[in-house]
């Protein structure tokens, strides 16, 4: 006698794509995607290694900052990625809220980008603080740029907390998307704060909006450019993994619910 109940069979059929992940054929779409993501991770790693090598051993010290200028090859890149991450979270949230493009995938993407963005914001604040101690003589000051960046960090932590409030998935996603739009208001404020208010923080090193000058040249400029590219690749790699994890977590909760319901139906029958 076959013991499988019909609903359980349906659940197994629906989850066939997940269950079969261990028996993927060599040329399948998922293995191709996995290879692409692995290649992305490898390029990111190589880029960061070269950036560190150039930044710490090849580029010359600065006339004013001396060797402390070497923090230039990580700190601005971290801040740049922070802007990209929140930009993606903002766009994904708009796409989720727009009825014609609404898809749970945009909600997952917004959540993933915001979480990775929070990590990069935290690192921007910490590396900035480490740089500020020897150059400004203090770990922290209530400078407009620093204050608005700290506010940004707290706002997106709040956004991640909002995402964890239990409830109906559609309501939760809509609520989160609105929270992401509100949090994003602070992003342009952070960027323009050095222009709007008197700030201890220097103006942009590349293409200063006031003077139109670029203050780095030669190997320093190339290393700075490489740091932006490398950390952007690191961000993309992290984003892909965080996004996949988010999809898997949802699938897992769906599967557990389906199995629990099937068992319950079996008990009732």
């Amino acid at each position: 006698m076959t013991v499988t109940s019909a609903p359980l069979k349906e659940q197994h059929g629906r989850a066939a794509d997940v269950a079969s992940s261990a028996r993927l054929p060599p040329g399948s779409a998922r293995t191709r995607r996995d290879r692409l993501v692995a290649a992305l991770g490898l390029f990111a790693l190589i880029g960061v290694v070269i950036d560190v090598w150039l930044g710490l051993w090849v580029t010359p010290p600065d006339q004013t900052l001396g060797n402390l200028v070497r923090l230039l090859y990580i700190h601005p890149a971290l801040a740049w990625v922070m802007y990209i991450a929140y930009g993606i979270a903002f766009l994904s949230s708009i796409l989720y809220l727009w009825p014609r493009t609404r898809s749970p995938r945009f909600d997952h993407l917004a959540g993933a980008a915001a979480e990775v963005g929070v990590v990069f914001t935290g690192l921007t604040l910490v590396t900035g603080s480490i740089w500020g101690r020897p150059t400004w003589g203090t770990w922290w000051t209530w400078d407009p740029l620093l204050t608005t960046t700290a506010l940004l960090f707290v706002l997106y932590l709040g956004y991640l907390a909002v995402r964890r409030i239990p409830g109906d998935p559609a309501t939760r996603a809509r609520r989160s998307a609105v929270a992401a739009l509100i949090a994003f208001i602070d992003v342009p404020v952070v960027y323009f704060s050095v222009l709007w208010w008197r700030s201890l923080h220097q103006l942009p090193t590349v293409d200063d909006p006031v003077t139109g000058k670029t203050y780095v040249h030669g190997s320093m400029a190339w290393t700075l450019l490489l740091s932006f590219v490398s950390f952007s690749l690191v961000f993309l790699w992290l984003l892909v993994h965080r996004y996949r994890l988010s999809l898997l977590a949802e699938k897992e909760s769906d599967e557990l619910l389906a199995i629990a319901m099937a068992e319950r139906r079996g008990e009732v029958a």
Binding site: V52, L68, L245
Partner: protein, 76 residues
């Protein structure tokens, strides 16, 4: 070189490395859990399903083959 520079690089790269490793480990664990939760048991698989053999823990012994055959007879 200044300890501040070393600290900046170690904190930034170390945090990203730990965060990235955690994401990969969590993703793999989630895949394994889903696979385990959705994998049909031996009784739910058709007799000609190759997974039935794959799902068997360890080498197939005479006793196991006999047991499997007994189950097929019961099904009939």
């Amino acid at each position: 070189m200044s300890a501040y520079i070393d600290a900046g690089y170690v904190v930034a790269l170390g945090t990203l490395a730990v965060y990235g490793s955690t994401l990969v480990a969590r993703e793999r664990a989630a895949r394994r859990r889903i696979e385990a939760a959705t994998k049909p048991t031996g009784e739910e698989l058709a007799d000609d399903d190759p997974s039935r053999v794959e799902a068997a823990p360890g080498p197939i012994t005479d006793a196991m083959t006999h047991e499997s055959g007994a189950r097929s007879e019961t099904r009939r």
